[in-house]
Amino acid sequence: MDVNIEILNRDIIKVNLKGEIDHHATLVIKEDVDNYIEKHKLIKILFNFKDVTFMDSSGVGMIIGRYRKLQKIGGRIGVVNITPKIKRIFQMSGLFTLVSCFNNEREAIDKL
């Protein structure tokens, strides 16, 4: 799992995930994202799933965990470029009541 984080605009970070998201991989993602948010004091995260080839329910737990952290300080989370399989796992988990799903990056910047 590769995690690449960039600042999209003043208050959104984009987390580019690459590879397979399972319990093992989420341990790395959590640490990288939490450190970055802490350091840069940013409160909106856009997770980019473009290069994600696999995800199980550990990915849902990882996103809910980030949501709980950011929610307290008025932050928000969005996801972009998800496959139908990953979308199904998110839907089953009720994740879309907590995070927004965007069609592309531009829409995410406008609405997140």
Binding site: E20, D22, H23, H24, T26, L27, K30, F54, M55, D56, S57, S58, V60, G61, M62, I64, G65, K85, I89, M92, S93, G94
Partner: protein
């Protein structure tokens, strides 16, 4: 019906082995004429079962996880077994969104996903004795339009 092929794999309950386990089962399952979608379902279900054994079965200890699988013309049967602490209330554990470890950011969706992505799910467990999860995926031959 006799099985076309069988395999068994023992490995240590390290999180690094989650990807190893699902890749091995997917490679074995590929001997059947599966769609990419069916293969993805199997990988996800195996990943959920193995993760449960690592996080819940063995918690902070180390133990052996055993995957056995049998291929039939029309289905694949996969068993994931551990000798960890077992599940006290199986019915509760199978409920969507219920987790015994919310502090570890678990979603509580493991069994729900196994149930949804596979055609049959059986969970046998007793406290202190471990857990056996058996999953069956029926193969829809002739319906293969996904590739």
């Amino acid at each position: 019906m006799t099985a076309l092929n069988e395999m068994q794999l023992d490995f240590v309950s390290k999180s690094e082995n989650e990807s190893f386990a699902r890749v091995v089962v997917a490679a074995f399952a590929s001997q059947l004429d599966l769609t990419l979608d069916e293969l993805a379902d199997i990988k996800t279900a195996v990943s959920e079962a193995v993760t449960n054994s690592i996080i819940h079965g063995y918690e902070d200890t180390s133990g052996i996880i055993r995957i056995s699988s049998k291929l039939y013309e029309d289905r694949i049967v996969i068993t994931v077994q551990d000798w960890g602490k077992g599940i006290e209330d199986i019915e509760k554990a199978r409920q969507p969104l219920w987790t015994s470890k919310p502090e570890q950011e678990r979603s509580g969706m493991g069994f729900t996903i196994m149930e949804d992505f596979m055609d049959e799910l059986r969970v046998e467990s007793a406290p202190g004795e471990g857990t056996i999860v058996t999953m069956v995926k029926n193969i829809n031959k002739g319906m293969d339009t996904a590739r």
